[in-house]
Amino acid sequence: MSDLSSVKTAPHGAGIRTAPHGATRRKIITTGLAAAAGASGLAVATRLADRYGLIPPDHFGLYGVGKTLTYASQRILTTRHSMAREFNRSDISKVCPVNGDPPEDESFQRLLAGGFKDWRLKIDGLVARPASFSLQDLKQFPARSHITHQACEEGWSFIAECVGVPLSYVLNRVGVLPEAKYVFFFSFGPKQKWGSLDMFDAWHPQTLLAYGMNGQEIPLRHGAPVRVRVPRQLGFKSIKYLSRIVVTDTVTGFGKGLGSSSPERGFSWYGGI
């Protein structure tokens, strides 16, 4: 607000000094009003953008300007029913490259040795009925599969068939409260990766908790026993080795409050690109 007042007062002084014509004065007033309108317009736009969830959690700094423009424009352009492209069986890639190693965490290694029989997926936070599901529970829920393209932010990609339970089904089952804004996903171990989706992508029908890939159990390095699949965003948003889901209305309190571990390593929170 202090910026605004200096913009408004400066031209008055200048106008008197240089050319005290009526036309000039009118122009000064118009310019001042335009500046005030512009500043308040920006403030209103920011308010509206925030209300309609168009500002990403990692909106800070100069790069935040670009991130916010990208996120806001893609949220306005993409509808809830705009679907990631789906492919035929014959399009499935023969080689599905993968990054990163499975968690070395002892609890994960024990579950792996036991064939994930004792694995549980905890879901809590802003839900009416917090729950804990076994792999068998998830497999008994209605399944959906899709053959989609998955691109790593590094530039490589593959097409694979994923089978799993739609996240929306699980969210409905635990009863998401109306104030929910984000769904957080946590992996195993102290160096675990974690991330979050806005409700827009959390409710999207293609967003799966996937336990199968290309006709088999999901391979270990692809995120066994269960990974998230978000085909409208780059691969790093599809958190692997899932252990816990938390529904919240805020990003504060999770790490540095940027929405996921990726912004803390220099990447963006939103991966729709």
């Binding site: 400066a10 106008g15 670009g66 890639s93 220099g266």
Partner: protein, 256 residues
């Protein structure tokens, strides 16, 4: 700021022209001494000059960050998918650098892209409204003959000084190609790599034949722009670097 707001309207593009000239007069008093008397001989309009330098900044950001992103996986494929273990169409002799560079690279790439797109929008709109395109860049029909083209090529090869004031046919075609073909193609192939945008307009990528094809084309189109940039700078050096930079800053070349 004072003189910019206090300036009475003396024509120009929405009065912006004269306002910028006044700011320049205060910023570069020695460069723009002749602003008032030679207003008619303006070589580049204020919008062209402003958007040129914003675009230069955006291009530099895109170039540096594009290279940073490339370093994460300096390998190119054809079709929908590709990665280590699948055949490539081009392997650049660069190291695979994972982690850091593609993180800030992407942040800078999309910030620069937004600056470039918004700035390009202003440039396109003003180019149509002020008839910059039809006046200064669209070649006359007579210029589009083989004879005229070959004469222009030969004169370039002999390093002859071109006539000052208007663009020759090779310049016109090059600028039109950069503005209306290369930049739009770059944007298109960029959109084709976005899973979110492609979920709304699948044709962005299906027309090209795949996401990895789009990435490969994006790289080659960017290379053409780098080629343009190198030739652009070389030509400016040959034709008098400081004089032309001054023309693009103040709008006026030195009087001969």
């Amino acid at each position: 700021m004072w003189s910019l707001l206090g300036q009475s309207s003396r024509g120009g593009f929405f009065g912006y022209d004269s306002a910028v000239a006044t700011v320049e007069a205060s910023l570069f008093p020695r460069l723009s001494t002749s602003v008032s008397e030679s207003r008619d001989s303006t070589r580049h309009s204020a919008v062209v000059r402003a958007t040129h330098w914003v675009n230069a900044l955006s291009f530099f950001g895109l170039l540096v960050s594009g290279f940073a992103i490339l370093l994460a996986h300096p390998r190119f494929y054809w079709g929908e998918a590709g990665g280590i273990g699948t055949p490539s169409v081009l392997d650049l002799p660069l190291p695979f650098m994972r982690g850091g560079p593609s993180g800030w690279g992407r942040n800078l790439h999309f910030l620069s892209a937004w600056v470039g797109v918004l700035n390009g929008g202003v440039y396109l709109l003003s180019g149509v409204l002020t008839r910059h395109f039809s006046h200064d860049l669209l070649p006359a029909r007579a210029e589009l003959t083989w004879r005229s083209l070959s004469r222009s090529v030969l004169s370039h090869l002999r390093f002859e000084r071109p006539a000052v004031g208007t663009y020759n046919i090779l310049q016109r075609l090059t600028y039109l190609g950069v503005i209306f073909i290369l930049f739009p193609l770059l944007l298109w192939t960029g959109f084709a790599m976005s899973p979110a945008i492609v979920s709304v307009v699948p044709a962005f990528v299906t027309v090209l034949g795949g996401q990895e094809t789009a990435r490969t084309l994006h790289f080659f189109i960017a290379d053409f722009l780098v080629l343009f940039f190198v030739v652009h700078i070389a030509m400016i050096c040959l034709a008098g670097f400081w004089n032309l930079v001054r023309a693009m800053v103040t709008g006026h070349a030195a009087a001969k």
